[in-house]
Amino acid sequence: MDSISNTSLADLHTGEQATIASLGRGSGIQGRLTALGFTPGARLTVIQNYGHGPLVVALRGARVALGRSEAGAIQVLPLPA
């Protein structure tokens, strides 16, 4: 599935929407991410991304903050605005 997308969540700008393609591997936090609603196909909106530091995304009706490197491991498919 990774081949479909080469955009990571960290690359998205504030206000952009995307669906999740894959969660990436080896970070050991996939269990937490899935419980918070990060599953392949889930739709999210970037609430805040200043290009450095952590970012905030809205998904499944909740707001989740995640570190830049955690967001960098998540591959997404950007949705047209």
């Binding site: 970070s27 419980a35 918070l36 889930a42 905030v56 903050a65």
Partner: protein, 679 residues
């Protein structure tokens, strides 16, 4: 293997529920209003302890409704029941092994999609289930309309709408619980399905492990947990099944290591289908209050300014309201009480009078006057947490914490440390990575707690008069800078610069519940009073006894001898034996140093004590003493929780050694510089 599989986990509850009293387990994700509901139902009739073998808080209580009594157990707040942290294990073990009569799942109507995830897991367990649909008021504000009947029909369990903060809907909730408890069969409920490509794998796994599992574990559920990559379940199965089955299981799991996605997706698909029928009018592009506030509160620049402002306000409130009350208590209650006791006991032997007046009233009484300061600080902290702000504080501090190899989540326990280091160390359990957690624990004692700030607030005016405020703030700022420097160095040297993942929910802002805050302040106050009545009382008595034995003269007492033995080290910092002894007794509780000085300078009232101290010592000695007091080894209670939380004496002693070296080294330097400058 984890200790939660030992028989200790089947211990009887601390609140002993009489036979026949039904037990209700309260489950829910964080920020769903679970604590509010718990406090609402049990009031003051609750007990706070620890889960057996764990340091995680366990709250339980009793309540009555319609003449019947119920036993309520608050399960830890978790997003799922997969073992990502000890909380999830506690929650599911409790449900599977203790077999509560009913599980009450608290979900938020304003965030149903995410909060039903835990319900999707609970629905798969063999227990009676009732859903408390909380925050229906917030939901309707946001334009979300939940059809309760349809939700109930779709899940197959009773659903009761609720506004826990205003105690609305509680009666119907308790009626529903009563009805459900009377029904003899658990109704068939709808359950999420695993994606079809993994169904065969699940049933294979189930068949292999079924004969070896403990009877209380449903085999299908265990197989599901294995597929989810649950480390706890893997350990349990590895320990239970024969070697060749274990190999077979491991092999299959390796081949399907992405099954966790299929399972989570299946649960969310189940939730989505429920929401489609039961929820209408999702908010259409309107900007909620939370988004509007967050535009500033989580902004990299204004967010930090807001955080600084809020923290400043908390301290200002704590000390401008707390300190005058503390002073008033000291002058208006403790001093007259001591004088009154002195006259009353005029006829009794001098040692008994001294014990009561100096040891009991002077020592413990002075310490208890700090209670208002503590209450205001924890009250403010709890309000900020309840409003939903603390997650934002963690978020804006994330960048800064990275310097120390930590992330935003470490900020909260460290900030809590300003109140007391014990909850700070306990609070580190929200940090997933062990390394980040250890580093946060080690740094926590560098945060000056209220007890140390009280010592500071009491002694700085004595030494520095009008400059006291500047000196106090300077010292506090200095210890915080030291915290950052120590963090950066420790991270490089011990942890080799590794850092951990940061994932955290930012809850919706909502109006705080005063009952929740009140309960927290009440519990903290209670444990402080307990400490004053036990540890501080004991030390006060011992110090007092040592100060008059063997011949009634402080100057030639046992205490003086101890102080004189250690005086050479104290001399580096310009301390005489009295200050050295005061510093030593602060190990049992930081406030002791004032109590000890009170005893050593002969039962003076606080104002008198400050006067005497200021004429007895130079300002450079004062500054060195304040420095070493602020940085000295953590108090006994903190050391105990550090040992408990790190699970290692090595880390504990490393921490003590670090603080000892820092405090004595820096205070010696401060003394040398200050006296060199002729202060």
């Amino acid at each position: 293997m984890s200790d939660c599989h030992t028989p200790s986990s089947s211990q009887a509850p601390v609140v002993q529920a009489a036979a026949g009293i039904p037990t209700i387990a309260l489950a829910g994700q964080p920020n769903m209003g679970k604590s509010t509901l718990f406090n609402l139902l049990t009031g003051l009739n609750q007990h706070v302890g620890n889960w057996p073998g764990k340091t995680i808080e366990k709250k339980e209580g009793l309540f009555k409704h319609d003449g019947r009594e119920y036993h309520l157990v608050d399960l830890p707040g978790t997003y799922s029941l997969t073992a990502n942290s000890p909380e999830e294990v506690i929650a599911r073990e409790y449900i599977l092994r203790q077999l509560p009569d009913l599980v009450l799942a608290v979900v938020s109507a304003a965030n149903l999609e995410r909060s039903l995830y835990l319900v999707s897991e609970l629905a798969a367990l063999p227990c009676r289930l009732v859903i408390a649909l909380n925050m229906v008021d917030v939901a309707s504000q946001e334009g979300i309309d939940v059809d309760v009947e349809k939700l109930s029909a779709a899940v197959g369990v009773p659903v009761i709408p609720l506004v826990a903060t205003h105690a609305r809907g509680v009666d119907s909730l308790l009626q529903a619980i009563r009805m459900e408890l009377q029904s003899s069969v658990i109704e068939k409920r709808s359950m999420p399905e695993i994606r079809s490509d993994h169904r065969q794998v699940q049933s294979d796994l189930e068949a292999w492990i079924r004969p070896y599992l403990p009877p209380e574990y449903p085999p299908a559920w265990c197989a599901l947990k294995l597929l989810e990559g649950d480390a706890e379940m893997r350990g349990l199965v590895r320990g239970a099944v024969p070697a060749d089955t274990s190999k077979q299981v491991e092999g299959l799991l390796l081949k399907h290591d992405d099954a966790f996605l299929a399972i989570a997706s299946g649960r969310y698909a189940w939730i989505e289908s429920i929401l489609r029928s039961a929820v209408h009018g999702q908010k259409a592009g309107q900007i909620s209050i939370t988004d509007r506030i967050d535009r500033y509160a989580t902004h990299p620049v204004s967010g930090l300014a807001i955080l600084a402002g809020i923290l400043g306000l908390v301290f200002w409130l704590t000390f401008t309201i707390g300190s005058p009350i503390q002073n008033a208590l000291a002058k208006g209650v403790v001093a007259p009480l001591a004088a009154w006791a002195g006259t009353l006991l005029a006829g009794v032997p001098f040692w008994l009078r001294g014990l009561v007046v100096d040891g009991l009233i002077g020592g413990v009484g002075s310490v208890l006057t700090f209670l208002p300061i503590l209450m205001i600080f924890f009250g403010a902290f709890s309000l900020l947490e309840d409003v939903g702000y603390m997650a934002r504080a963690a978020y804006v501090m994330d960048n800064f914490m990275h310097w120390m190899g930590l992330h935003g989540k470490s900020f909260l326990p460290l900030f809590l440390g300003f109140g007391c280091n014990v909850p700070a160390v306990l609070g580190t359990r929200t940090i997933e990575s062990r390394q980040a957690r250890l580093l946060t624990i080690i740094l926590a004692p560098l945060v000056p707690c209220t007890a140390r700030m009280a010592v500071l607030a009491f002694l700085t005016p004595a030494f520095f008069g009008p400059n006291a405020v500047i000196v106090s703030w300077g010292l506090i700022l200095f210890s915080l800078i030291l915290l950052v420097v120590a963090g950066v160095i420790l991270n490089r040297v011990i942890f080799k610069g590794e850092r951990s993942a940061f994932v955290m929910e930012l809850p919706l802002y909502h109006t705080p519940n005063l009952r929740t805050t009140g309960m927290l302040v009440w519990q903290r106050s209670l444990s402080f009073i307990k400490k004053a009545g036990t540890t501080i009382l004991g030390i006060s008595m011992v110090v007092w006894a040592l100060s008059i034995l063997p011949n009634g003269n402080v100057e030639t007492s046992f205490l003086a001898s101890v102080g004189r033995i250690l005086e050479p080290i104290g001399r580096w910092m310009g301390l005489d034996w009295r200050l050295t002894v005061a510093l030593l007794t602060s190990f049992m509780a930081k406030e002791n140093s004032i109590a000890t000085l009170g005893v050593l300078f002969g039962g003076l009232t606080q104002a008198g004590l400050a006067q005497t101290i200021s004429t007895s010592y130079s300002a450079s000695t004062g500054l060195a003493f304040l420095t070493v007091s602020l940085l000295f080894i953590p108090c006994a209670a903190t050391v105990a929780v550090i040992r408990q939380e790190t699970g290692s004496w090595r880390w504990t002693f490393l921490n003590i050694g670090l603080m000892l070296a820092l405090s004595v080294g820096i205070a010696s330097g401060v003394y040398a510089i200050a006296s060199g400058m002729g202060v």
